[in-house]
Structures are given as C-alpha cells and as structure tokens.
C-alpha cells in the first residue's frame, strides 16, 4: 500500500484521532528534513548533556527553584482579574485537564487575531479579551508564573508537529534561524545545527530545543522565557534583538517546536 493510499484509508476511517494523525503525517511530509537539519534520532534535550547536579535539581520538584513560580501560577489561575472579575479557572476550570498538552502544541495560529500566539501571547489575549485586564509585559513575574503553570500540564508529553496553518510561520522562523546576523555574522543554525556538542568558550553547544521553557536558568538565577533565551543568543552574536513579543520571536519559537517535534516536554526545566 502506498503512503498516500494509507492516508486515504485512514481518512476514510473517519474517526477524529485518526484524522489528526493523518494530518500530522501530511504536515511532516510537507516539511522534510534539509541537509543541515539534525537527524531525528540524534536529537537530544539539554537535559541529556547537563551535569548530574543540575539534572537532580530538575528531577526533584522540591529542589527545582521553578516550583516557586509554579505555585504562584497555580494561585494566579484562580485569582479574579480585570474589569470582568474573572479568573482563568472560571472558564478553563481545572488546569490539569484543560491545559494538558496545550504547551506541547504552541505557538498556535489564532484565527480571530489572524496571527500566531505563543503561550504568553495567549495568556495576554485571554486577559484583554475575557478578563478585561491589562496585558502583562514579557518577563513579568506573574506572566512567567502563569506560563510555567500552563506548560507544567504538558510535562512528559511529546511536542506535537505544527498543523498546516502554522507552516508559513514555521518557514519564517527557519529563515530567521538560518540568517546570519550581527557584527559576528553568525546564524543560529551555524552553532545549534552544525556544531552542537562542540565547545564554545569551554561549554558544549546545546542543540537548542525549546522543550523545557519557561525554565530556571542558573545563569539567570530566575525563571525566564524562551524569548529571553533567544535574545541572549542574539546579544552574543552582537545582533540587534527583536522586541520581546514580536512576530519574529514567535516565528522562531514555532520553528524550534517543529524542530523538536516528538521530543518530551520538561517544563519548567532547569538549565545551567
């Protein structure tokens, strides 16, 4: 049976999960690996290469400093906000059920806003639209706490391949990932696709997967967002950072999620 015929058969089985699986297969087929891409079976999470102490910190919730953000996020989930006087829980009830798997498939395309939103953007969208509250600025403690709490509900789940309507955003993210930038004229791909595992200033270059964000970074002494981490790399390249929340960062996030599809979510992780 050819692959196309197999998909045809799956579609005709007409059950919803099977359709979703077929769409996954189609979107994977639509975005094949390119020469410089890391082979799927060689991908590794930052967790796999970090030191034993840092791993132990992530493995134990009572030792993971990000737990403090998680607890804040849990409290904020039930706190009424804005002119509408609504809490997240008023619409979404128990996050353990309603948010399960959400962070594993974000950024997602928001048809109402006609643009992709990451988890932070989606939380702010809920704040302005449903709670009638001010959006929270990036790296604000409450936004990090809520994002960590939402992402926690996907821990252990596989990152979902982006659906068809995200493909243009993924492509845009890839273009940024592969573009040489800054005074040092480097691209993300030159380090994280071509030279991962080799040493830059004494530390092994990670593959740069997004599967643990938001995460507690020892270097930051804080939980931070994926966008903050991306900005760090741009500063290292002596490139002009994009504004936090900008479409460029969301596109990069979408590409990184495509690149890490199938890998397990660890949020909120710990990294050196």
């Amino acid at each position: 049976m050819t692959a196309a015929r197999r998909i045809f058969h799956i579609l005709h089985a007409a059950s919803l999960p099977a359709c979703a699986a077929a769409i996954c297969i189609l979107s994977l087929a639509a975005a094949p690996l390119r020469a410089g891409d890391i082979p799927l079976n060689q991908r590794q999470s930052g967790y796999d290469t970090m030191g034993r102490d840092t791993r132990a910190m992530q493995d134990d919730d009572t030792a993971n400093p990000a737990t403090l953000w998680l607890l804040d996020g849990e409290a904020l989930w039930s706190k009424k906000e804005g002119a509408a006087g609504k809490a997240c829980a008023d619409c979404h009830t128990d996050a353990a059920t309603s948010m399960k798997g959400v962070a594993a498939r974000y950024p997602a395309f928001n048809t109402k806003q006609n643009k992709p939103l990451d988890i932070e953007g989606r939380i702010n969208n809920c704040r302005t639209e449903h709670q009638q509250a001010q959006p929270l600025p990036f790296e604000n403690k409450d936004l990090l706490a809520l994002t960590a709490y939402v992402a926690r509900q996907s821990r252990g789940m596989a990152i979902a391949p982006p659906p068809e309507n995200m493909q243009p955003v993924v492509d845009q993210g890839r273009a940024i990932f592969e573009k040489r930038q800054g005074q040092l004229n480097l691209s993300c791909a030159q380090c994280h696709d071509d030279n991962w595992g080799r040493k830059l200033a004494g530390s092994a270059i990670p593959q740069g997967h997004p599967n643990g964000y938001p995460l507690y970074r020892l270097e930051w002494q804080s939980v931070g967002s994926l966008q903050r981490r991306l900005r760090n790399c741009l500063i290292g390249m002596r490139a002009e950072g994009y504004a936090l929340g900008s479409p460029e960062y969301v596109a990069l996030e979408a590409f990184l999620m495509w690149r890490a599809r199938g890998m397990k979510m660890e949020s909120p992780a710990v990294r050196p």
Binding site: G121, N124, Q134, P135, L136, P137, F138, N140, L143, K179, R180, Q181, G182, Q183, L184, N185, L186, Q190, C191, D194, N195, R198, K199, L200, A201, G202, S203, L234, I235, R238, A239, E240, G241, Y242, A243, L244, G245, S246, P247
Partner: protein, 167 residues
C-alpha cells in the same frame, strides 16, 4: 511592522513627524562616513594582505592580550590555544592557534583575520575588519569592525611568533 510587545505601551502617542526620515538618513550617512573612517582600504595580493593596515608592525605582547581576552579578541571562544594555558574555557570549534605562525605567512594571517569569508563563504569565523554586508548589527556595534587596524596588527604580530615546535 509592529515591534511593540503587547504588554508594553509606547511612552509617546505623537505621530512620527516628517523630520524623522530626514534625521534617520542623516544619521545613516554619518554612520557610513564613520564606518569608512574605521575600515581603511587594503590590497589583497595572492590570498594575502602583504602590507600592514597601519603602515607599522604590531606589538606581539599586546596581541597576546587581545587574543586571550574573550570580550576583545573573542578568539578563544572558538579556538583552543595551548600556548595560553592560563585561560580556561577555550573553544574547540576551530584549530589550535599554536603553530599558526608556521602554517601561514604574515600577510596570509592578516587576510584570514580581516575577512576569513574570502576563503570559505560559510565559515563561522567572523570578518574582523569589515562593516559592510552585515545584517541587524547591534546598535552599539554598528559601523565598527570587531577589531581596529592597530589591534589586528598586534594580533598578527603575536600569531606570527607562534612557531611549530620541531619534534
């Protein structure tokens, strides 16, 4: 393109006046003039820059300090340098600098630092004496080469002293 993060509000609601494009053009031309001052022309002869960028030889001791300094020379981020053992945290993305002076003549070292992309367009080695053809350079680095002509001459003078030890 709207670069304002959704959570941050612009301090000023004033529409951009017609003055702004003119000002931007003026600043851009000033930056270009500055960049021209900072990167002087040089001649490439047979895959080398035979003449000193400053007209004078560099100072090897100053060159060593530049190479060892990860904020100035940046060399050890990628290169290892067994001849600078006091600096830990060296890279292994690029060849050991030991013996560089035996592998290349002075003019070849100079061109490799000035514009390594001439040899391999995909190299990760940045061009140290170039301000054109770059994208989204951070504002504090715009129009400036990574090292000045004087600094490059110091580094060249230092690297030229690194001879392969005959076994």
């Amino acid at each position: 393109m709207n670069r304002t993060p959704s959570g941050l509000r612009s301090h000023s609601q004033k529409p951009a006046g017609t003055l702004v494009p003119g000002l931007v053009a003026l600043l851009a031309s000033l930056a270009a003039a500055q960049a021209q001052d900072r990167v002087k022309p040089y001649a490439v002869v047979r895959e080398a820059i035979p003449l000193s960028l400053t007209g004078k030889p560099g100072d090897p001791a100053r060159g060593r300090a530049i190479v060892a300094n990860r904020q100035v020379g940046l060399c050890l981020l990628c290169h290892s340098a067994s001849i600078i053992p006091e600096e830990q945290f060296q890279g292994d993305l690029a060849p050991d600098l030991a013996g560089a002076g035996s592998r290349w003549k002075i003019g070849e070292l100079r061109l490799r630092i000035v514009d390594a992309g001439r040899f391999n367009a995909n190299t990760i080695m940045p061009a140290y004496y170039k301000t054109g053809g770059l994208t989204r350079v951070g504002s504090s680095f715009a129009g400036k080469p990574i090292l000045s002509a004087e600094q490059i001459e110091d580094v060249v003078a230092y690297l030229a002293t690194l001879r392969e030890v005959k076994k």
